[in-house]
């Protein structure tokens, strides 16, 4: 399924917490169907970068541009960014006691694809609304795709989930909600090899469906199963190096310290 071609363009993005600059001017361009990976050591600003892209209000002080198409979304609310087609798979997903996975996803899907007002419908390029029946069918199919049992859909969102289950739920959300651009923040941590393969399979499917993808990771483990088109090395709030998948091999061999001087 090929969809339209979109561009996520990040231009000179800066952000600070307190008076300390953490993101020091990141520029990046991602097109539909591309996979980009951002790698970097702990504390390099990877997660902050992801949170700012999605609009976490905790990071209020920021400058630069983040555009989907020609629209600057940097000052939009998180839900508005989501409606523009952005998705973030959280590194530490939060639990919502008493709300089932199925109900949560149905509500989210409706929020994104069946906007309440006509005005919103005109503004967004939402996927067509699905009937409850069709939605459930699709949900079950996507859960099957990730080898998640039906029971999983009835459990409360992330409540008493194992690390692996949480990451799989993030992937399930990405598959069901159909974003134009998805950011995966350390989706590979805490996964055993089977789960890692399942998650990688999900990423590849999203790519095939035409989404642009940004994978944030600490290790090159996931990149054995998903071949990124571009790899960017983030250190101290800046992209210090960009290249093809050969960069991952170099990292594996020499570590981050060697990259900067390389």
């Amino acid at each position: 399924m090929k969809t339209k071609n979109y561009k996520l363009r990040i231009n000179n993005l800066k952000a600070e917490i307190g008076n300390r600059e953490i993101i020091k001017g990141i520029s990046l361009k991602i097109s539909s169907g591309e996979i980009h990976a951002i790698m970097g050591p702990n504390g390099s600003g990877k997660s902050t970068f992801a949170q700012i892209l999605m609009g976490n209000p905790a990071y209020a002080s920021k400058s630069g541009e983040v555009e989907i198409g020609s629209k600057n979304i940097l000052h939009l609310k998180p839900e508005e960014r989501a409606r523009e087609g952005l998705f973030l798979a959280f590194q530490n997903p939060l639990s919502i006691p008493g709300v089932s996975v199925a109900n949560f996803l149905k509500t989210a899907y409706q929020s994104l694809h069946s906007p309440k007002t006509k005005d919103q419908r005109l503004k967004t390029n939402a996927n067509p609304a699905l009937s409850v029946w069709d939605f459930n069918e699709k949900l079950v199919k996507d859960a099957d795709y990730l080898s998640l049992p039906r029971e999983f859909l009835k459990r409360s969102v992330n409540e008493d989930f194992s690390g692996g289950e949480k990451k799989k739920l993030e992937m399930l959300q990405a598959l069901v909600l159909k974003p134009k651009f998805a950011i995966f923040d350390e989706i590979d941590t805490g996964l055993d090899i089977d789960a890692l393969k399942v998650v990688a399979q999900g990423i590849v499917r999203l790519q095939k469906e035409g989404a642009g993808l940004l994978i944030i990771t600490h290790y090159s483990r996931l990149l054995k199963f998903v071949r990124p088109d571009f790899i960017h090395i983030l250190m101290d709030g800046k992209i210090v190096k960009s290249g093809g998948s050969e960069l991952a091999a170099l990292l594996e061999k020499k570590g981050y310290a060697a990259i900067k001087s390389h």
């Binding site: 609009g55 839900e79 939060l94 919502i96 709300v99 989210a108 929020s111």
Partner: protein, 465 residues
């Protein structure tokens, strides 16, 4: 409107000739006012005396010094009895905008809206009510408004009325005993199971909406009944005081579930005394949802009188700006091997205040009893408040008591997570709140559960702005 409506007959003269018998008691309380109520209802002498004695008790009792702020109630500025026909005086046009808007948004039908707004005393459900009456009648089940109950079954009423919650129980029980009007009267014979919930909704009439409803339920041995009262739509009332009394008798091996969802307009003091007496192997269950009102003080109780009796209380309280919900439950174990469980969930938003107030009492005579109390509070913002006042009085060592209490606040990260999935802040908060109360909501009849979730959605949108 058919003249044969059984409800009308509870106001034998007044209903058909409204002009001649138009009656509105003078403002405030007096012996004369109480006498008038009794006279208009053509009550037996014992009830007249019961009312007058209760009035004396009301005068002699002071306001409770605990709970909420009651000092502003002006007992002399209230009409204690308004003949139902007079309620039609409220017109749809004069209802407050916010009430009308909420009705619209919940999407309830026009007729029901008017009824809830106190505009119309009658409603199409009469037909439904009649057919239910017929089916119940065959099994010997009595389901009437309290006034009709007293008129048609005076001996049965006299045997139980005011015996579980006597007028001297508390000041508001005394007030209700003196001024009561409307409410439900239910009797379920031995071994009869009423499979469909009995809803006050089907028995709709003006009396049902009274300020001082009085409900009496008697479930004879081995019977079962589920009674549902109230609705989630806000009930507009020009009266500032609602003070009901509910007495329930659960005989040996019987089971009664009583579900209430109430959403009074925010000018109302809602002060209600509810009690169940549960005999051997009986089960008594309260599901009590409180939204709206200015102040609610309500602690449904189970008195576990017979060996092996069980009581369960599920309570939800939701306090928005300017509201105080002082709610909870009481379980009193008199007999051995009795069990009780109290689960309370409260939500405070926009400066609203909730309090859990509970009593657990286990007498020496209640060996081998078990009780579990769980109260969870959810705060939506820093301006809101929640307190817990649990009282335990355990006289028997051979018991198993558990008590858990949690207070949580909706986290910014939790909200961000949901908003990143396309939910607005209000939708995200409503989802968290609905998830929080879900363990209780799933016990409600489906249509109530759906309405309650929707209402919370609306409330959140309103309070977030």
């Amino acid at each position: 409107m058919p003249q044969s409506n059984p409800i009308n007959t509870s106001y034998p003269l007044g209903f058909h000739e409204p002009e001649k018998y138009f009656f509105k008691s003078e403002k405030g309380l007096s012996e004369k006012v109480i006498e008038n109520i009794s006279w208009h209802k053509k009550e037996p002498e014992w009830m007249r005396k019961f009312r007058l004695d209760a009035l004396k008790i009301f005068y002699s009792k002071t306001l409770p010094t605990w709970g909420g702020e009651l000092g502003k109630i002006n007992f002399n500025n209230i009409y204690y009895y308004i003949k139902p026909t007079n309620k039609k005086a409220v017109s749809w046009e004069t209802l407050p905008e916010e009430i009308k808007r909420t009705y619209d948004r919940i999407g309830i039908p026009e007729a029901e809206k008017k009824y809830l707004g106190g505009v119309s005393a009658q409603y199409e459900s009469e037909v439904v009510y009649k057919s239910i009456q017929k089916t119940l009648g065959k099994k010997g089940v009595i389901f009437l408004d309290m006034d009709s109950g007293l008129r048609e079954y005076p001996e049965l009423v006299k045997q139980y009325f005011g015996t579980l919650i006597p007028p001297h129980d508390n000041k508001f029980a005394a007030l209700n005993s003196a001024a009561w009007s409307g409410g439900s009267f239910i009797y379920v014979p031995k071994g009869v199971r009423v499979e469909l919930p009995l809803q006050a909704y089907f028995r709709i009439n003006a009396a049902n909406m009274g300020q001082f409803e009085r409900t009496l339920i008697i479930a004879d041995e081995g019977s079962f009944v589920h009674y549902v009262e109230g609705c989630t739509a806000p009930i507009y009332s020009t009266d500032s005081l609602h003070s009901a009394v509910v007495e329930i008798f659960v005989k040996k091996g019987a089971r009664v579930r009583y579900t209430t969802i109430q959403n009074w307009s925010t000018n109302v003091y809602n002060l209600v005394t509810k009690r169940m007496r549960v005999e051997e192997d009986g089960v008594g269950e309260w599901i009590d949802g409180n939204l709206g009102s200015k102040l609610t003080m309500k602690y449904p109780s189970v008195y576990l009188m017979g060996k092996g009796a069980r009581g369960e209380i599920l309570s939800i309280a939701y306090a928005g700006p300017g509201q105080h919900q002082d709610a909870g439950g009481k379980a009193i174990h008199f007999a051995p091997y009795t069990t009780s469980k109290i689960t309370s969930k409260s939500v405070s938003v926009g400066g609203g205040r909730t309090s859990y107030r509970g009593l657990l009492q286990v007498f020496q005579s209640a060996k081998g009893s078990k009780s579990k109390v769980v109260c969870d509070a959810l705060l939506i913002d820093d301006a809101s408040r929640s307190d817990t006042y649990p009282t335990m009085d355990i006289k028997q060592n051979n018991t198993q008591i558990e008590h858990e209490a949690t207070v949580s606040k909706i986290g910014d990260e939790q909200l961000f997570y949901l908003m990143s999935r396309g939910l607005s802040k209000a939708d995200a908060e409503a989802m968290i709140v609905n998830g929080f109360i879900e363990p209780i909501v799933k016990e409600l009849p489906l249509e109530y559960a759906v309405e309650l979730n929707r209402l919370i959605q609306l409330e959140m949108e309103g309070s977030v702005g």
